[in-house]
């Protein structure tokens, strides 16, 4: 039996009141509910405040470079499909520096889960605009307000036919824990974008701002309907839907390498007779 205790309690470097604390809590709850033991799970993160999250629980961790969590996670998953692989990072890391990898991962569809702490701002570097900041978002580095249109990750993901697309809110821990479970259970690439207040640098999209607007997708919402999913994914402003926006079963990337399903690559040995046969082809 896995218990919350196994995932531990650690001192964090996050500000009091930051949404990251709740996401961490929901993550641990979800892992316990899925009966996943710490050694079965690999967290891969980038760099940022959110990217520190895997350090604050007890599991396998690869905390790599800014923007690069998805390639590392994909490589790790291919070479040991027995692992539950979760890429976890911030919106700047995942959609800015890592934007190309985000698009490629949706196309590739490895069986990994991407959890993005989306606070619409760069936390660790002290409050610059992020790809999800709204146009006009004023910061010390963008005194005239951000010029660009915000990136809508869930809409892009649905438009690209991602296997699983969901949005959560860190203020609703139990609901979020449920979404994390669904995302992990989905076979293929799953995106869970989590709205997360940054109390230090985002004075616009606060806890109250999100809490007033976020509504749960109705029970009769059909997540297999792509047109409907696109409409909900675009909805932003007075009302923001949270829940599983879209589901779609696609072939899983690792299965292109049937042999990797036999177990971790670390344990498979190259067959020297086959190597010798290959050399013969060059005679």
């Amino acid at each position: 039996m896995v218990t919350l205790a196994e995932y531990g309690e650690y001192e964090t470097a996050w500000c009091p009141g930051c949404g990251n604390h709740s996401i961490l809590k929901a993550m641990k709850q979800a892992l316990v509910a899925l009966k996943l033991e710490p050694h079965q799970v690999l967290f891969v993160s980038g760099i940022g405040q959110a990217a520190k999250a895997p350090h604050y629980l007890n599991a396998n961790v690869f905390n790599g470079l800014h923007g690069r969590s998805l390639p590392v996670a994909t490589g790790a998953k291919i070479c040991n499909p027995e692992l539950t692989v979760i890429a976890e990072s911030g919106d700047g890391c995942s959609y800015g520096e890592g934007g190309n990898h985000f698009l490629a991962a949706i196309r590739r569809n490895p069986n990994i889960t991407m959890v993005v702490h989306n606070n619409q701002v760069y936390g660790l570097t002290k409050g610059q605009a992020s790809p999800t900041s709204e146009t006009g978002f004023v910061t010390k580095n963008q005194p005239k307000g951000a010029f660009s249109e915000p990136f809508n990750p869930v809409e892009i993901a649905v438009a690209m036919n991602a296997g699983f697309v969901a949005r959560g809110f860190s203020g609703r821990i139990d609901h979020l824990a449920g979404l994390i479970q669904e995302a992990i259970k989905h076979k293929g690439f799953s995106l869970l974008d989590v709205l997360q207040p940054c109390v230090s640098f985002n004075k616009v999209n606060t806890f109250g701002w999100y809490d007033q607007r976020c509504y749960n997708l109705p029970d009769d919402y059909d997540s297999s309907n792509r047109q409907e999913a696109l409409i909900r994914a675009e909805e932003w402003g007075e009302r923001i839907p949270v829940g599983v926006l879209y589901r779609n079963q696609r072939p899983v990337y690792e299965e292109n390498f049937p042999f990797v399903m036999n177990g971790p690559a670390a344990k498979t040995k190259v067959d020297m007779r086959k190597v010798s046969g290959i050399l013969d082809l060059y005679r």
Binding site: N58, L65, P71, G75, C79, L83
Partner: protein, 568 residues
């Protein structure tokens, strides 16, 4: 001097079947038992342009390309215009009689279109060359058959008939061209180019994951691997960019798979951040950098050795690395295996620095002895030294035993939450968690650098070829090996003793293994394919020794013995 070899140049536009013709001829010559050095020269375009494929062949050992052409197979007029000046006095040009070429007593105009359909004119040419060189018709035809087998019986038949037509035409004409001396090599040798040898070396090393983003001249490593990856059970992926390629390889390696990436200078520029990640997280990865001329996109299809300093310094911060620089096809195979061994023994990035010339150069090689090859076993390095596992356990050697996520230190499936693996690109504690503690920082920097002593202790020393106590000593590295050795042979006289010091590992440098050789020579010359003598500078930096002179080439073409001899 008696002619030691025959240099055949097949030249024409891209898309004229010149590669097919040359590859079959290459294979036929190796199968017949000849030594061979092939140089490919092509433009960065798919059709048109001017391309050539030089096959230097001999019954004696040859290890370098040369510039003088003995037999030019010109598939268009441009090839004659460009290469006529390289023709030896006794040389011969074979050209289609329809190509309006001026009459010249060294030009043989052949009725290609009368002998076969245009589609098969490269097979006609193959037959002609075979006859001119004195190859056996049935042997060439056999090679041709094995090449076209996969294209169906019809294609095979047409090509073989065309080849015979070319062969017979030359025999009937009785063309005066000196035949090759009978071969004396054993016949079951391999025909491999540098990139194929690198791919096979990686396979034999036990590589399990390979990732790339296409870039000349590295791409053919991926192509060679793709042919065998399913059989040999290697996961192979074309990434969205080079950044992803190396990060994926690091992820794969972290989960226990010996991994490699291959690229060229511009792609390596994108990889450098993750080279540093490999150094910091102590996750082994093998990185092939197949050099081409720069800066920037440079000359995409030509050759140069100008990225030594880049590869030596690529990546921020301080961490150990090793750089191999194969001098020929055999070394490409064996040093690729060594690269995996060093990377996995010291948990750090290791490089294979090649270049377009070696990457594309076919040679005939003795089949590798696989009995002595021990593929990497990642699990062997994961003995249980600590409980729980400490990713960055401080050891005297600096090397921490590895473990992989989901597995215990002995590669058994993990069963307890004590068996975790934590790695971090931030400075970290022994258990892998980020820290800003200054004392831990110092101990981790020192731990990583201690591994360098081990890497140094197994560094491949330079090999020396030539007279003992030379008056003239050439110093070269990587693919300049063959040309420098052949030039040295030519320069040697009764009065002048000549030698070559060749480095197939260019980092780390271990002065004790070569300093005496350099200081005792009367005259030293660095031979490199770059404009600033980067390796000579590295030697000076590491030893204080100034290499007296240098012969450098940076026009994009490989160094040849003639090029060196002319500059003495």
């Amino acid at each position: 001097m008696k002619q030691k070899s025959r240099n055949i140049l097949v030249a024409g536009e891209a898309g004229q079947g010149l590669v097919t013709l040359s590859q079959i001829l290459t294979k036929a010559l190796v199968r017949a038992g000849y030594y061979l050095v092939v140089t490919q020269s092509y433009q960065s375009r798919i059709r048109g342009g001017h391309n050539s494929y030089a096959l230097r062949v001999s019954d004696q050992e040859i290890i370098a390309p040369i510039e003088t052409v003995d037999l030019l197979i010109a598939l268009d007029q441009k090839s004659i215009d460009i290469h006529m000046g390289e023709l030896a006095p006794s040389g011969l040009v074979v050209v289609d009689e329809n190509i309006s070429s001026k009459d010249h007593d060294r030009i043989l105009r052949a009725p290609f279109s009368k002998l076969a359909d245009n589609k098969f004119s490269n097979s006609v040419a193959l037959g002609m060359v075979s006859a001119l060189l004195g190859l056996k018709e049935n042997e060439t035809n056999e090679t041709l058959r094995s090449f076209f087998d996969k294209h169906g019986a019809d294609a095979t038949e047409h090509n073989m008939v065309s080849c015979s037509a070319g062969f017979d035409w030359v025999m009937r004409r009785g063309v005066d061209f000196p035949k090759l001396a009978p071969p004396n090599l054993q016949k079951d040798r391999l025909t491999l180019n540098g990139n194929e040898a690198t791919a096979l070396g990686a396979i034999a090393a036990g590589m399990k994951f390979f990732c790339f983003y296409p870039m000349s001249p590295a791409t053919s490593i991926a192509t060679a691997l793709a042919e065998h990856s399913a059989e040999i059970e290697i996961a192979l992926e074309q990434a969205e960019d080079e950044i992803s390629a190396i990060n994926m390889a690091i992820g794969a390696s972290f989960s226990g798979a010996p991994s490699m990436v291959a690229t060229s200078g511009g792609g390596f520029a994108l990889m450098t951040e993750a080279v540093s990640l490999s150094g910091m997280t102590e996750t082994p990865v093998v990185i092939v950098v197949a050099q081409r001329p720069g800066p920037s996109t440079g000359l995409p299809t030509r050759t140069e050795q100008a990225d030594l300093e880049f590869v030596l310094h690529g990546g921020h911060g301080e961490f150990p690395r090793a750089i191999f620089a194969p001098g020929n096809v055999e070394q490409a195979f064996h040093l690729t295996r060594s690269a995996f061994e060093v990377a996995n023994r010291y948990n750090t990035p290791v490089f294979i620095l090649t270049d377009q010339f070696l990457a594309d150069s076919y040679r005939s090689v003795q089949c590798f002895d696989l009995a002595s090859v021990n593929p990497i076993d990642p699990c062997a390095n994961s003995s249980a030294e600590t409980d729980p596992h400490l990713t960055y356990f401080l050891t005297e050697s600096g090397v921490s035993p590895r473990s992989f996520p989901g597995m215990t230190t002995n590669c058994v499936r993990a069963s307890s939450s004590q068996e975790l693996v934590v790695a971090d690109s931030d400075e970290h504690t022994q258990d892998g968690h980020l820290t800003e503690d200054f004392l831990i920082r110092i101990s981790m920097v020192e731990k990583r650098l201690r591994k360098f002593q081990g890497i140094k202790s197994e560094c491949v020393p330079p090999d020396y070829i030539g007279d003992s106590e030379p008056d003239l000593l050439f110093i070269c590295w990587g693919s300049s090996r063959g040309s420098t050795i052949e030039a040295a042979e030519q320069l040697k006289t009764e009065a002048t003793r000549v030698g070559v010091l060749h480095f197939s590992q260019v980092w780390p440098l271990v002065p004790e293994t070569f300093v005496k050789k350099i200081t005792s020579a009367k005259k030293t010359i660095a031979v490199e394919s770059n404009a600033t003598a980067q390796f000579a500078r590295l030697i000076r930096r590491e030893t204080g020794i100034e290499i007296g002179a240098s012969i450098l080439r940076y026009d994009g073409l490989p160094i040849t013995p003639e090029y060196i001899v002319a500059r003495i």
